[in-house]
């Protein structure tokens, strides 16, 4: 008998929600075959079978919340294990298919009256509460405990949101045309973190615009050579990351974070790159960008993008960023005010490159222009610093040679 346990999920991640079991009790499994999908605050991971055998027991059903190290189920070792454990079960006529039938799920079962009442009054969705009753049903005690847990959570924002968000019932006509979908853990985390950032930081945004002509010319000129040598396309992101790193070196406050009454200045440059996926936004972090070449940065980002879409990012790749870049331009955005990725103090918003008439040396010229936005935490970053930072980024992109010369 081998226990299947929740693996270590990375720092600051202590629990996960069972997304989906790929196997039913009674199914044969091979070593390392994916058994179950876990959703965490940050990523979705698959737990592989620790041993070959037969999945004999599922201890945590779909939708249940489990802590790191908790038992998910059991694998009966070896193919013949079922036989020796229950000799009688081997009799084929005597063991109908029922043995392999998964335990009835309680998710469709109607809720107990007390649970319904508490759910309506508190706004706590009973389907998100792990049930201890028969077949995993949610009991009144489970609801009271969940509310107590929510109230005791260190983030007051999330707690009140969970406890008091009561939606007024829709008219019956409309109600049937509504669809209620449970937020994934990732979505819940995004929601909570964004609101936290808004409630905590003194956030505001400064704008500038950048003439992308030179960067575009560089790209056109070296595209094939670059791709041949580095095996990755030369994009814009590499330029922006390198430009930001230089600007952060000049304006350290933008790379800093508040800790109580202290400010922590970070002399390393881990840049988070926001990637939109079907499941929601994730922000993988390119580490030590100051020590990476532009090609290395591009390679890392390309790899992240691919794995983000497959949901294959690791937890530690999503942690420890000091500054973030988000590109609304790929969806066509001309101008936006990004929200900080707390506890970071700055986030750069890239936008769509658009040909616009620009006055240059007394003449009107058509140039490929991009608006830049920097949202920053005014508690750490002064207006002068924020504006200077953004101007530095602009200058570095308009004259990429400055990147090389460190000007």
């Amino acid at each position: 008998m081998t226990e299947i346990r929740v693996p270590t999920l990375g720092e600051s991640v202590t629990e996960a929600t069972i997304g989906k079991w790929f196997k039913h009790p009674g199914d044969a499994v091979a070593v390392d075959e994916p058994l179950v999908e876990l959703e965490t605050d940050k990523v979705t991971i698959e737990v592989p079978a620790p041993a070959a055998g037969v999945l004999s027991e599922i201890a945590a059903k779909d939708g249940e919340t489990v802590a790191v190290g908790a038992v998910l189920g059991q694998i009966k070792d070896g193919a013949g294990a079922a036989k020796t454990a229950t000799p009688a079960a081997a009799k084929p006529a005597a063991a109908p298919a029922a043995a392999a039938k998964p335990p009835a799920s309680a998710s469709d079962a109607p809720l107990a009256p007390s649970v319904r009442k508490i759910s309506t009054e508190s706004g706590l969705d009973a389907s998100t509460v792990p049930g201890t009753g028969k077949d995993g049903r949610v009991t009144k005690g489970d609801m009271l405990a969940a509310i107590e847990r929510a109230a005791a959570q260190p983030t007051p924002v999330a707690a009140t949101a969970a406890a008091v968000q009561v939606r007024a019932p829709s008219p019956a006509d409309d109600a049937v045309r509504e669809e209620r979908v449970r937020m994934t853990r990732l979505r819940q985390t995004i929601a909570r973190r964004l609101k936290e950032a808004q409630n905590t930081a003194a956030m505001l945004t400064t704008f500038n615009e950048v003439d992308m002509g030179h960067v575009m010319a560089l790209r056109t000129q070296y595209r094939d050579l670059f791709e041949k040598k580095h095996g990755v396309r030369l994009g814009f992101m590499g330029f922006f990351v390198k430009a930001c790193v230089q600007a952060l070196k000049d304006i350290p406050a933008v790379n800093a974070e508040i800790d109580g009454t202290d400010i922590i200045y970070k002399n390393y440059y881990h840049i988070g790159i926001a990637v939109g996926t079907e499941r929601g936004l994730v922000v993988p972090v390119v580490r030590d960008c100051d020590q990476k070449s532009l090609a290395e940065v591009e390679k890392t980002i390309a790899d992240f993008g691919r794995r983000a879409r497959d949901g294959a990012l690791k937890i530690d790749e999503l942690q420890g960023g000091t500054f973030s870049i988000t590109n609304g331009g790929i969806y066509g955005s001309l101008m936006s005010t990004p929200i900080l990725n707390a506890p970071q103090s700055g986030i750069l918003g890239m936008h769509k490159i658009q040909d616009r008439p620009i006055a240059m040396a007394g003449k009107i010229e058509i140039r490929p222009m991009m608006y830049l936005a920097l949202s920053y935490d005014h508690r750490v970053v002064d207006g002068r610093e924020a504006v200077t930072f953004l101007v530095r980024v602009k200058e570095l992109l308009e004259e990429p040679s400055r990147l090389v010369l460190d000007l």
């Binding site: 109908p96 009144k140 005690g141």
Partner: protein
């Protein structure tokens, strides 16, 4: 000719196990040493005693509350022979029912004493002394229990009787002395008291109905005294002198001291039951038993020998027919490869007296001992409209719920029709219900069950009618 399963014993555990196994496609046989199927329960236990209880209760009502309700029947009288015939007919139809069910489910029945010769081999020795050997994959021991005896006191089933003899006394004794104030003693004592006997109950402990919630036991004790039963608590019977026409029973204080002699026409020994596991060949095949003769099984009802299972009174746990039935079903399902299971936390217990006692889950004493914080909700039948209309408004419903989670931990009913009402409590507890869940479930009016709902409301101190 091998079977998938042979069940030894056809009491409520054994016959249910066999039927469930047959439903699951197992080729099943049963071995029964008595002439009729059904074991103690159907032949000399639950079924005949309930026939007597029912009849004697109606008899008492006819002579009592009928007049209060304006029904005149004159003074009723009992034709004991006819009453016992009605009881016997009831038993017969039930045991025949089991025989029919065996046929219907194609279960082969062998009459004779079963003995396990080896794992997978059962020898059946018929009344004529002939033996035959049966081969089987699995064996379920469902041999039940026997009357517990008192050292030095011989049961002749005429004047010194066990529960078996007490179900067919030739005439109503003038004086009946019962040893043991447990369920069997009080049920049968009530029967014969209603039929006219003068009943004295001698109990070793200082309270009646051990294991029942203390408050229930105390109040019920007073009710029985009012009905005319005499109790001698903290006392023991040390000898019964059967030499004369009248039995002379020696009763001593449990703690020791001067003995007294009580006279009785009949003595009923009702000090409990002991597992019946002798003569089954268990020692020979190495099946382990505990120090009280009960077969030791794991949570899957398996003994230490592969392919041999045991259920019911032959194993540990409350000696109740419905517990045996559930274990029978679980054992059959486990043998068929399913996940059979018995929830021992939710096994109802009923005392079929008048009024009845029914309980499920923990008693208040058990909760105190476990150090659990709990809330109590109580509602008396004197405040229940239906009970008052029935002129049966004694007793109460008591619900014990976890102080924090409100989960129902125990329900105790002393009152009319408690046997029926306990089912709702058992279902609630099986599903982990809170007292609020019971309180928020609509109960029909006017019914006795409203008392259950009100008791649930009383847990939160919001009973409406009290």
């Amino acid at each position: 000719m091998a079977y998938d399963l042979i069940v030894i014993g056809t009491g409520p555990g054994g016959y249910v196990c066999a039927i469930r196994a047959a439903q699951l496609g197992l080729k099943t046989a049963v071995v029964e040493k008595n002439a009729t199927f059904g074991g103690t329960c159907l032949n000399v236990g639950c079924i005949p005693s309930k026939a007597l209880l029912h009849a004697s209760e109606l008899y008492e009502e006819a002579g009592g509350s009928f007049a209060k309700m304006g029904i005149k029947v004159g003074k009723p009288s009992v034709d004991l022979a006819a009453l016992l015939a009605y009881k016997a007919q009831n038993v017969e139809s039930n045991v025949n029912g089991v025989a029919f069910l065996f046929k219907k489910n194609k279960i082969e029945a062998f009459h004779g004493a079963g003995r396990i010769v080896a794992p997978g081999q059962v020898e059946v020795k018929g009344a004529d002394g002939k033996t035959q050997l049966l081969e089987t994959e699995n064996i379920v021991i469902a041999t039940g229990s026997d009357v517990a005896r008192l050292p030095g006191i011989d049961i002749d089933e005429k004047r010194v009787v066990s529960s078996t003899g007490a179900l067919q006394l030739a005439k109503v004794p003038q004086k009946l002395l019962i040893v043991g104030a447990g369920i069997i003693g009080l049920e049968l004592g009530s029967v014969w008291r209603r039929l006219g006997a003068e009943v004295t109950v001698v109990e070793f402990l200082d309270h009646i109905l051990p294991g029942i919630d203390g408050e229930v036991s105390k109040q019920f004790h007073r009710m029985l005294q009012k009905q005319g039963l005499t109790f001698k608590l903290s006392s023991k019977v040390t000898a019964v002198d059967t030499s004369g026409k009248i039995l002379k029973v020696k009763v001593e204080p449990a703690a020791g001291g001067a003995a007294e002699t009580l006279e009785a026409d009949v003595v009923l020994v009702a000090i409990g039951r002991v597992p019946f596991t002798d003569g089954l060949g268990l020692e020979a095949v190495g099946v382990k038993k505990d120090n009280r003769g009960r077969v030791i099984v794991d949570p899957h009802l398996r003994t230490n020998v592969a392919g041999i299972y045991a259920i019911g009174d032959a194993v540990a746990g409350p000696m109740l027919a419905h517990k045996a039935e559930d274990e029978g079903v679980a054992a059959a399902e486990i043998i068929a490869g399913q996940a059979g299971h018995v929830n021992y936390d939710v096994i109802p217990n009923v005392v079929y007296t008048s009024p009845e006692i029914a309980s499920v889950g923990k008693t208040e004493e058990e909760l105190k001992q476990a150090g659990l914080a709990y809330n109590v909700g109580k509602f008396p039948f004197s405040a229940n409209a239906r009970a008052r209309a029935n002129l049966a408004a004694e007793g109460f419903v008591k619900i014990l719920a976890d102080a924090k989670t409100d989960r129902v931990l125990g329900v105790h009913i002393l009152g009319p029709d408690a046997e029926t009402m306990i089912a709702e409590a058992a279902i609630a507890m099986e599903f982990g219900a809170s007292s609020e869940d019971i309180a928020r479930t609509c109960h029909a009016h006017p019914t006795l069950t409203e008392a259950v709902k009100e008791a649930a409301l009383a847990v939160a101190k919001r009973a409406i009618n009290y």
